[in-house]
């Protein structure tokens, strides 16, 4: 296997040292955590960094914990760790559900949630859950730390608000308490695939619904129009049909080798319907188990 491009590699042992490297090397630096995106891009000759900065040995970026009433997920936390976390299972089950749909175990053992958010491909599986769970991305930079709400994080395909000198250190999410949620992913078969449509729904006891889409626009996004339509209402067939009718107005799917825009549009409606029903069922306590095959 051949990565033609030559680059340096550094392995800082502190956040300060890492930020220093970024400051010195500028936009030619790439952060390397799991590497399942970056190394593939290097091999495809799609990226030509000057230096790769391995952040896996930075302290403080690991672990899942509760801090200040929020779930804190370190930048180095892998999808496997999320799936195996009792804390996530208890508080953010839909995040584990979504994590389980990412690639395969050998990828999930390396790929990080934060890496997925930073790669920011429109179909990223971490995007819709982070939006519907109203998470926040925390980054450290030369001027200190900043927090970016999920809704402001993505700016375009493979683009986020992150600046070249910054490192995402962790993600935090409010503890939802009692809720039902569902992440559905359209793929071409049951094996690993990139989402052709992603839908993440959260339903709360207070009648609040949070609906996010992935892979049907340049970025993952919330759908406030649909949320407003659903808010406070019992989700009978008519209400859900009304929500489905709003879908085409909020999504902008493309046709590519994976799926046509027509199918994506159709499936966005079907998946919204099924995700809403599952979320509501789970809130009620009689819904399908998280991870059940609903498509």
């Amino acid at each position: 296997m051949t990565i033609a491009h030559r680059f340096d590699y550094v392995r800082p042992d502190s956040l300060a040292a890492a930020l220093q490297v970024l400051a010195e090397r500028g936009p030619g630096a790439r952060l390397l955590a799991g590497g399942t995106d970056l190394v593939a891009w290097l091999r495809d000759d799609a990226d030509h960094p000057d230096v790769v900065v391995d952040v896996k040995h930075l302290p403080g970026l690991s672990g899942i914990s509760i801090e200040d009433g929020r779930v804190r997920i370190g930048a180095l936390v892998t999808f496997t760790e999320i799936i195996e976390s009792d804390l996530i299972a208890q508080h953010l089950p839909m995040l584990a559900e979504a994590s389980h749909t990412v690639a395969s175990n050998g990828i999930r053992n390396r790929a990080t949630l934060v890496g997925n958010l930073c790669s920011a491909v429109p179909s990223c599986d971490a995007g819709p859950p982070l939006l519907s769970y109203e998470g926040t991305v925390h980054a450290a930079g030369p001027d200190g730390e900043r927090s970016v709400p999920a809704e402001e994080w993505f700016t375009g395909p493979r683009a986020t608000v992150i600046e070249p000198g910054e490192i995402v250190t962790h993600v935090t999410l409010p503890i939802p308490g009692d809720h039902g949620a569902c992440y559905l992913k359209l793929s071409r078969y049951r094996g690993e695939d990139l989402a052709q449509v992603g839908v993440a729904v959260v339903a709360t006891p207070g009648g609040e619904y949070r609906v996010s889409f992935g892979a049907v626009g340049p970025v993952p996004f919330r759908a406030p129009e649909i949320e407003a339509h659903l808010a406070g209402r019992d989700l009978d067939d008519e209400v859900i049909a009304g929500a489905e009718a709003l879908v085409d107005g909020v999504i902008s799917p493309i046709s590519d080798v994976r799926a046509s825009a027509a199918y994506r549009s159709h499936m966005s409606r079907v998946m919204l319907r099924r995700a809403l029903r599952a979320a509501v069922g789970r809130l009620r306590g009689d819904g399908p188990a998280y991870g059940a095959e609903l498509l």
Binding site: T2, I3, A4, S104, R188, Y189, R190, G191, E192, D193, L194, V257, R258, A259, S260, A262, Y263, H266, M267, V270, L295
Partner: protein, 798 residues
């Protein structure tokens, strides 16, 4: 056999053996340990030392263009680059059945990805970087991507020189056109046949291209040594065929068969894609440019997709007539094959289809036209099923629809029309013994045909389909096999053959043949990987023919060794040879129950006699097999008169399919597949072919989906976007069914099954979808998207 012909080989002798110890048993694979331990060595695992060079291919970005100039100077100047070669250095054509392909494109490129030059360097990175510096100038032409466009009257010929290409005598190219071969088969009076029909159904079916996706990519290491011998290590199904093609292509450089050696270690899957010669010609050629050093060409997965053989696409027009009581009166099948830029191998796929595209049915009147059409897409070639996987989608979809139009149960329709032993085949010869009716009955039973199933889930419908399949090996009439066999001092055996263990279990089955004849357990028998210097000839490991052909050769070699064993014992001890037999690795005697002699005591050392002299010596055996009844000579206009196919393997597949009417997603709840193996030498391995082949076939109909852009560039040359099955995509339940109607000239009655198990998967799913949701999809793949959108359209129309 009904024809009264005699058959070569010694099948009769082994077929007379009644109490079988190893044949017909689930012997565990003799190479299982190698594979599970990591010991198995594949081409890319072999170390060639620091002198190994690496060649990177420079590829055409255009589907069709004239090469107006190549400047290699910048690439040559890169430190570490040893040489850069282009088509000018090797202006030679090559090909299996037609010589229409160049080592490197010479005057024009004909598909995106075609090799134009190669950079040979000390390390892969340098080669890759330097390859980017080779400057090629093109005059871009409009690529033709649709065979229907390529056969239009005003279509420009992609191969203006077609009329001069050497080819096998059974091909009929039309010079000046893009029709590189046209196989016509006609029997009876087709118009009369349609006139007699009460119902005639006509439609067009479209099947696109597919990729083999063996997990091991193609790779070749080649070295021309200082004695002018060219040695190649290839991942190949066909070392001897490769040697022959190299000798043909490189003859102008003074290379002959004697000076070319092809070695094939373990191969990581073939499926037809590693037959013949595709990218290996690059290795052979570049080696001649750097005498004394080995050169490796290893394809990336992307190159594997677009510059090794692809399964050809086909546009198939079917017209079938039948009487009210369900008898087929006429079958007309016209196939325009998207055969790609070079058809040196693919034209034989077209030929094979042209001889058999009625499907396994009897019909008094038939007209088959199979046209091999050049297009500006990657070269088509052999793929598991060899044309039958491609055309049976249409045939089995069509037969079900015709039955439904007649108001006859589709399975009953097949029972009525299924071809039987002695019936005339499309080219006139009689059909061999086959258990097609048994296959139909057992498959129908396995899926409870006739019993409608419903789902509790309101979004799901359940449908059933049952489809037949058949296939004959598509081979030259003199395709042959040979085997050597020797004993070792511990009583173990080495068999040298040039059939290839691709994973199908070939080596184990060959061992079982020898084991049965010589009473040596299979796990004391080694079957050596091919080396054209040491192992005797095998035509190719394709066509599902090696169990039959090479099995006959191995059986013959074992019989010869057994004869020598009995002669030595006779010479040393006086027993009549006819009274001797082998059991538990010992020679025993009917007339003297006390006598027993362990093989290991004398199969190398000989037997010492009373006066201290010895009899015998190393026991070796040899055997060959070549059919002497096959002939490729037939009437070019009717296909009659020859005997191109040795025999057919038949079977049936059935499926219970659940369709989600909202998403279009399909789930195979149960798949049953019955194949007539003649004699399952190793039932577990036959089941392995059923499970593996079925899944590969299901993948072609459910989600494998090759897409090209308007320039002929493959858009999805990766597993990210060309999806092949994972462990999560297996059917809920598979019922393998082995039918055994012996093949009279097969060793122990065996015939091949390796390809057949995928052939019916595509139509059986299309039929089940139609049964479940009333939507008939006549193009592949039948994806969830297609089903969902078709259902929406269906609903809109109502």
């Amino acid at each position: 056999m009904t024809t009264g012909r005699t058959y070569p080989g010694r099948a009769d002798e082994v077929n007379a053996m009644t109490e079988l110890t190893y044949v017909g048993k689930d012997v565990s694979r003799i190479d299982g340990l190698d594979k599970v331990s990591g010991a198995a060595v594949y081409v890319d695992d072999i170390d060639f030392g620091p002198a190994l060079l690496h060649a990177e291919v420079v590829e055409s970005p255009y589907g069709h263009a004239i090469i107006t100039g190549i400047d290699t100077s910048a690439a040559e100047a890169v430190p570490g680059v040893v040489k850069v070669v282009t088509g000018r250095d090797f202006p030679f054509t090559f090909g299996m059945y037609m010589q229409d392909r160049y080592v490197f494109a010479v005057d024009r490129v004909r598909f995106v990805g075609e090799q134009v030059a190669a950079v040979i360097a000390d390390d892969p990175r340098t080669a890759k970087a330097a390859a980017k510096l080779v400057a090629v100038d093109y005059e871009v032409l409009t690529p033709m991507l649709d065979p229907m466009d390529a056969v239009a009257d005003d279509a420009e010929p992609i191969h203006p020189g077609l009329g001069d290409y050497p080819h096998v005598p059974w091909f009929f190219p039309k010079a000046g056109t893009n029709i590189s071969h046209w196989r016509k088969t006609r029997r009876g009076d087709i118009e009369q046949g349609f006139a007699e029909a009460d119902v005639v159904l006509e439609d067009t079916y479209r099947v696109p291209r597919y990729a083999h996706c063996a997990i091991e990519p193609h790779v070749v290491v080649a070295k021309l040594d200082h004695a002018d011998r060219l040695t190649l290590w290839t991942a190949s199904q066909s070392p001897y065929a490769q040697r022959h093609v190299f000798a043909q292509a490189l003859a102008p450089l003074g290379l002959t068969h004697q000076n070319i050696r092809v070695i094939t270690p373990s191969v990581g899957g073939g499926f037809g894609g590693k037959a013949g010669v595709s990218m290996e010609i690059i290795g052979a050629a570049v080696a001649t440019a750097v005498k004394g050093r080995p050169v490796k060409v290893r394809f990336t997965r992307e190159q594997e997709f677009y510059n090794t053989y692809q399964r050809q696409g086909v546009v198939a027009r079917l017209k079938v007539g039948a009487t009210r009581d369900g008898r087929i009166t006429a079958i007309e099948h016209t196939m325009h094959w998207d055969a790609g830029a070079y058809v040196e191998y693919g034209a034989n796929v077209v030929n094979a289809a042209g001889l058999s595209a009625t499907g396994p049915y009897r019909t008094p009147n038939l007209k088959i036209d199979s046209l091999c059409v050049y297009t500006n897409l990657p070269p088509g070639g052999p793929y598991r099923g060899f044309g039958y996987s491609e055309f049976m989608f249409g045939v089995e979809s069509h037969m079900t629809r015709l039955a439904q139009e007649l108001g006859i149960d589709p399975v009953e329709f097949r029972r009525i029309n299924a071809i039987a032993e002695g019936d005339p085949l499309p080219y006139g010869e009689p059909m061999n013994p086959s258990g097609l009716q048994e296959a139909i009955d057992r498959t129908a039973e396995a899926i409870d045909w006739g019993v409608e199933e419903t789902s509790d889930d309101p979004t799901k419908r359940i449908g059933k389909g049952l489809a037949l399949f058949w296939k004959a090996p598509a081979m030259p009439p003199n395709a042959s096999s040979a085997s050597f066999l020797k004993f070792n001092e511990d009583g173990s055996i080495n068999i040298t053959v040039s059939g290839m263990e691709l994973g199908q279990g070939y080596a184990t089955v060959m061992a079982q043949f020898a084991a049965e004849v010589l009473s040596v357990p299979p796990h004391k028998i080694r079957v050596e990987n091919p080396d054209t210097d040491r192992n005797p000839y095998e035509w190719q490991t394709v066509a599902s023919h090696v169990t039959w052909s090479c099995g006959n050769a191995v059986a013959a070699a074992a019989l010869e060794a057994r004869e020598k064993i009995f002669k030595v014992v006779h010479d040393a001890h006086g027993y009549e040879e006819g009274s001797l037999y082998l059991e538990d690795e010992k020679v025993k005697c009917d007339t003297d129950p006390e006598f027993e002699l362990e093989l290991k005591d004398f199969v190398v050392a000989g037997i010492e006699t009373e006066d201290g002299t010895y009899r015998g010596g190393p026991i070796v055996g040899s055997g060959t097999f070549m059919p002497e009844f096959a002939s490729a000579r037939s009437d070019p206009e009717t296909g009659q008169g020859g005997h191109p196919n040795v025999h057919y393997t038949v079977g049936a597949a059935g499926v219970i399919l659940e369709v989600d009417v909202e998403t279009g997603k399909m789930r195979v709840k149960k798949a049953a597949l019955a194949v007539d193996a003649g004699k399952a030498i190793n039932p577990r391995l036959v089941e392995g072919q059923i499970t593996g082949g079925l899944l590969q076939g299901l993948a072609t109909v459910l989600y494998e989906d090759m897409r090209f852009d308007e320039n002929g560039r493959l858009l999805n040359p990766t597993f990210t976007d060309y999806k092949i099955p994972t462990s999560k995509d297996v059917p809920d339940e598979i019922v393998p069914i082995i039918v055994e109607t012996p093949q009279p000239d097969g060793p122990f009655g065996a015939r091949g099954v390796g390809e057949h198990t995928m052939i019916a998967a595509a139509p059986v799913v299309a039929d089940a979808v139609a049964d479940a949701v009333g939507v008939r999809i006549t193009s592949m793949p039948v994806t969830a998207e297609k089903v969902a959108l078709a259902l929406l359209e269906h609903d809109d129309e109502r």
